[in-house]
Amino acid sequence: MVAMIRLSVPGTLRYRPIAVRTVAEAARLVSGSSPRDPKNPTIDPLALDIRHPFDTAVVSAFMEIFNNIAIHAYQRKGGGTIDIEITPSPDEIVIEVKDNGRPFDMGNVVALPDELDEESLPEGGMGIHIAKTMLDEMTYAPGPPNLWRLCKRLPAPQVAVGRS
């Protein structure tokens, strides 16, 4: 049985903390940075600890996608839901995000400047770049419903070989 987590919230920034927390917890189920074994709890369940690089990547990407849906697709006016389906498995997490707001053409998103110096420091247009770079796969199918599919794989455990 594939264990799936489904969350549906109104499409406004007010519900962002709920969605981010849910995704963070789900990421931790995969990265193992949350206590899998009830007999051996190792972290404070009240702190949203996403210091594990896997959790960092998943949460960073998801935050941008959620922001964009609330701001651009629903234009800060809500009026629809954001439906999130999370499939945590032992070595990856897949997050599908669905909204009924305005679609857009991802091909038109301007890339960040190649060379970054003081002058070219961007004050916007970083979200898609952050999400894409943090993930292993990111696809967007315009609708409505618009469908995002985010995938992040856990690197295979490093096995120490030989002496150090």
């Binding site: 206590p35 009830p38 972290i43 369940p45």
Partner: protein, 101 residues
Amino acid sequence: MAAPFDVQRTGDETKLMVRGSLDINSAPALADEIDKIIATKPAKVTVDLSALDLIDSSGVAALVKLYKGARGGGGAITITGARDQPLAIFKLLRMDKVFNL
């Protein structure tokens, strides 16, 4: 990343510090530790709950077990520092009187 509890033994006193959330997922490990504590028949047990943020009925059950076990072995037990949600739970269960919180 701190463990949700730790135990210090000094002479015949045992100090138990519980942190974060003591719930159905963390209480079983504490219950094991409590069995060990009770087995030593400590003269004095102090439980410090000042870093405990959240408790559920399984967490309460673990602490009751420690309370009964310590007293049953002839020892004294003091529970200190309960606050916020855990204190609300002890009050709701009218355990604040018994535990002298």
